[in-house]
Symmetry: D2
Subunit: 367 residues, 4 copies
Amino acid sequence: MAGNSFGNIFRITTWGESHGKALGVVLDGVPAGLALCEEDIQVFLDRRKPGQSDISTPRKEDDLVEILSGVFEGKTTGTSLSMLVRNTSQKSRDYSQIADCYRPGHADYTFDEKYGLHDYRGGGRSSGRETIGRVAAGAVASKILKEMGIDVYAYTTAIGPVSIDRTHFDRASISQTSTAMPDMATNDEAVAYLKKAREHYDSVGGVMECTVMGLPAGIGDPVFEKLDANLAKAIMSIGAVKAVEIGDGCSVSARFGSENNDAFFADEDGIHKRTNHSGGTLGGISDGAPLIVRAYVKPTPSIFQTQNTVNRAGENIEIAIKGRHDPIIVPRAVVVMESMTAITILDALLMNMSARLDRIVDFYGSL
Amino acid sequence: MAGNSFGNIFRITTWGESHGKALGVVLDGVPAGLALCEEDIQVFLDRRKPGQSDISTPRKEDDLVEILSGVFEGKTTGTSLSMLVRNTSQKSRDYSQIADCYRPGHADYTFDEKYGLHDYRGGGRSSGRETIGRVAAGAVASKILKEMGIDVYAYTTAIGPVSIDRTHFDRASISQTSTAMPDMATNDEAVAYLKKAREHYDSVGGVMECTVMGLPAGIGDPVFEKLDANLAKAIMSIGAVKAVEIGDGCSVSARFGSENNDAFFADEDGIHKRTNHSGGTLGGISDGAPLIVRAYVKPTPSIFQTQNTVNRAGENIEIAIKGRHDPIIVPRAVVVMESMTAITILDALLMNMSARLDRIVDFYGSL
Amino acid sequence: MAGNSFGNIFRITTWGESHGKALGVVLDGVPAGLALCEEDIQVFLDRRKPGQSDISTPRKEDDLVEILSGVFEGKTTGTSLSMLVRNTSQKSRDYSQIADCYRPGHADYTFDEKYGLHDYRGGGRSSGRETIGRVAAGAVASKILKEMGIDVYAYTTAIGPVSIDRTHFDRASISQTSTAMPDMATNDEAVAYLKKAREHYDSVGGVMECTVMGLPAGIGDPVFEKLDANLAKAIMSIGAVKAVEIGDGCSVSARFGSENNDAFFADEDGIHKRTNHSGGTLGGISDGAPLIVRAYVKPTPSIFQTQNTVNRAGENIEIAIKGRHDPIIVPRAVVVMESMTAITILDALLMNMSARLDRIVDFYGSL
Amino acid sequence: MAGNSFGNIFRITTWGESHGKALGVVLDGVPAGLALCEEDIQVFLDRRKPGQSDISTPRKEDDLVEILSGVFEGKTTGTSLSMLVRNTSQKSRDYSQIADCYRPGHADYTFDEKYGLHDYRGGGRSSGRETIGRVAAGAVASKILKEMGIDVYAYTTAIGPVSIDRTHFDRASISQTSTAMPDMATNDEAVAYLKKAREHYDSVGGVMECTVMGLPAGIGDPVFEKLDANLAKAIMSIGAVKAVEIGDGCSVSARFGSENNDAFFADEDGIHKRTNHSGGTLGGISDGAPLIVRAYVKPTPSIFQTQNTVNRAGENIEIAIKGRHDPIIVPRAVVVMESMTAITILDALLMNMSARLDRIVDFYGSL
């Protein structure tokens, strides 16, 4: 399957390069009857816009979305929904420096090896601007999930070695801090850390996390379409992510079973777990507890320091990357993670509708 | 897409429950002309067999594979290849203890929520025996990769807190140690650790890793079908895996860009990287360096200690699980990880054949 | 996508060669809770068995099905359902005649061109026995549709130039005539026609039709997943089918719009059409009228007359095919058409469950 | 799988409604290195434009295409290729007549049943304008096929009862006749027939055919992905098509095997068939002979005569459709058939690259 689509029933196909004419996404399988307008999308896109704080690139991009199909009289029609964002700020500049060289940590070399050529303007298809399509689609998925009482939100948990204090978790802070951290105090510390890195012409990595509340138990499929497997793919497909954890993730490997098992208990509201080490899935299927996914992001590969590399002619050269780059990817990637999680969860919910014969018979019997 | 298939061009569909009549796999997209016999498959299956050491369950399972289709006169025909393993040792026992209760850390509850019923005999489809189909398919994928000069091998890197010393890495040890560690000294320490856990009626987690050597640069697709995204899905779909890393994984999040970027250099053999923090991919496409994937595995959820849980009637109960269980999943899961990696890599290689027009024209021009 | 799977949510993967060890199918996406036993499958398989009348091959094949997974305590579990039919009657005979030659009208030559080799025993994967997997899966799909009040039945409408008289349509006759015609008188005429063809060592073609009753309006998707498009693929994929019609099919091309449009009318039961030229679909979506599909089948290519052909060495030769062959494919293919139709319809019904947001919200709200 | 995508490796996703802002397509899996510009696409789109002759609607639509991504410095990059056509001529008119009524032969009713609403402006997504995305994609597929020496061309073979005389087949006429018939004399007769129908406020059906020359033997897959099965789906998915034939199609059902089999023969150029009743496929795989597909198209359902129908309130009403409509669909649909055939063939060719192990090993060995 060609690589620009994601999802089965709710399926997105993205397109566009950093410095091409436009970027966009086509959504297929959007249920009919959702009230949807461009403003619903724009608020999501604005969260990934650069130039909004002193820790992101000063580049200004308006990234205004246009809905081209699939909505009629303010409601989705069930047919394919196309959205477009024109590239406006990508100024015509001199790319001769990077046109011929393989930037360390970037995909210039691998694209060239694969395709025999690559669009070197701002990274082309491997640019972070590729995520515009994901976020526009994520806005739609999130709105549908909201109608179903399901709440998806992502945030930053670490920038370099500076991690949030979970005892101070404050969801409101996510949209108020330039780091997207849910913890004001740690945000300040992280911003200071970032400024120092920047002074050394360097960049830093970080960690982001997504929580899903309200997901019923029973969602996801056994074996290959496990909810965690699809989330792992969804999140690892975001550029710069190098590790994905579900629930307690890596740390479970050093535990005893007696520590790691989540005990079930029942009360008048139903069945619950006393702990949530599993992060909301058992056997790849949601268990009713909050779903927790975490992603580890590498430092922005574009740095101003001089680096050793190779040009297309195969000669060893030195490069010092110019331009306007984020010193960290994470704060702007948080909404991308949230979007990919929402898309994955929604697709699993739609797929699950045919899991039981009695429910299918009821569904059609009641029409 | 229903959940029992994996891959696009090279595609596997697995089936079977722990205590059903048989388990198996159908492979589609196997190229014609591969010499293949049951012995090729059996050596892989034997690596996941229990009862082979004092750190695995004393259950004996022969797990003899039968090839039912897709091979003619010793060669694959290009049509669907079906393989079957009969369940023979699954003795008819009393399941009344677990039939009605939700074992902590298991999928009994989530299956029930999803399907309204579940095969409670030994975990049914959520049992580790489900991986028989994966491993049988992995044996075929590995044999094809070998014909292409690509070498895939997995091993244990940690059991509980006991980690290998990478300066002592010895590939030959993988098949000689009961832990599948590539390091004899650490193996002995890990075995001692396991025995102690067992004495406390407990289980432990661990870490496994897979390395791919010989993969050319340029394999994998941008955006959603990134090589690392598909590997993340492949490996996270293995039961009990809770985190997946590519290359340096989680640790990149605390680094500076100047530390994490892999510098390119050229010599007479072509273009290489001085380091391999990225684990062999850039932008989701292989970069010619060894591909490195790591998986963190939770402790076996079946433990003999008494645990609190709930039964199907929604009553709070206590359970102490009986039966024969591995105190750790990792050593037997190593071949599963190797298999899933091989399947993923092979599929990406086949997909990549149509990436460039000139190569397509050459391919058909030379027939 | 490799070629041995069909369907999206309800998805089948078939395997097996004419003279291999066995044939079978894996079903994925079977809803949990369907009462199912081997007898349900066997009655379908028995309808495609040879040796049941004087107009089919005298070969005897028992074709006993075994369910290997996916059913527990008499009910489907929602996990992959594997079924197997062992080849028993395929006697070890001398294939030297056909091993090296390309039989006219068969796939020997095209398989060799594609794969570089082919299983020449009885046609291998291109044999009509390939349909065993389709029919076993069709039995499951039909049983599910029956639970939903949907009735799928196929029958023969012509053998050579001998066509049924639709004014005498009698559904009960389908299972009583050796031709599977719903018209006793025409059956007798057709049998006489077949005997004469056989005396001339020749074979004949025919036409088969499938009707679906009880399908609600609104099933199928616009554009590429039109119900008629998927039926066309499903039916054209049956070996020997060379044309597929929906409703009045070919004959609409010579009509005026005023003749061909089906007028809508409303009564107390809802909206209906006065005629059904469209065959039950409008814009690829079911319109509530009976769904009608028709398939035109070529004569059995295996004939006893001497034919000119070529061998694998590229030499012009003559061949007179020996063995036991049906003089006509249609009567045994009727159940294959019914199966493929049932699978296609069921998949469209499951896909349709996520078409409207309000129904999705209701579905999850009522759990 | 949601319904707006077609193809596996070469995969298109279309979007857009008749009177929405725009229509378009995203192509995935386009091989890198194809020289491509908007003019390549425009010549295809111009063939489906209305208002070009006295037998098509006088509506004027410019349908100018814009390539938004996937092309860099005049060559395809291998990443997703997005194309857009703005709707310009769709004037804001009064839809109150059709907003509330179900036009006979149209999809208004079935869309309403499926989605609970529909875009009634000009048919919305079920309009013939939906095919703009198919044709834009078909232009790309055809250009790639041309590089491989494969020639795909479609034409009209009948309008109402007026059929071409195949002994006068003249390919040059296809682009010179307003009917797209390859036969000038029959074209004149057909035009006269159409005019008469129009005088009676009526519409007519017709037949179109597509030929593929230069396709090597061995393309297509056995069982479900047969070349003819995928063509049947591709062509039946075009609105108004009610029957699809491969080769001699329906007529084979009345033949004897001895008449219908195509004899093979060998000469110095290789293996050929004396006749081509099969239409270029055997067992679903191309046999080296010209590939022949035929489609039967219903009369345009929009006619000016008064018809009985039902409105959304479920009341019986009369309707006489106003507006500008083609009296026949076929001449403008010919390029759609050609496009869908090209897309299907190309996808099968790309899929076939991994059919044989030795060719895979050679492919990677030679890089």
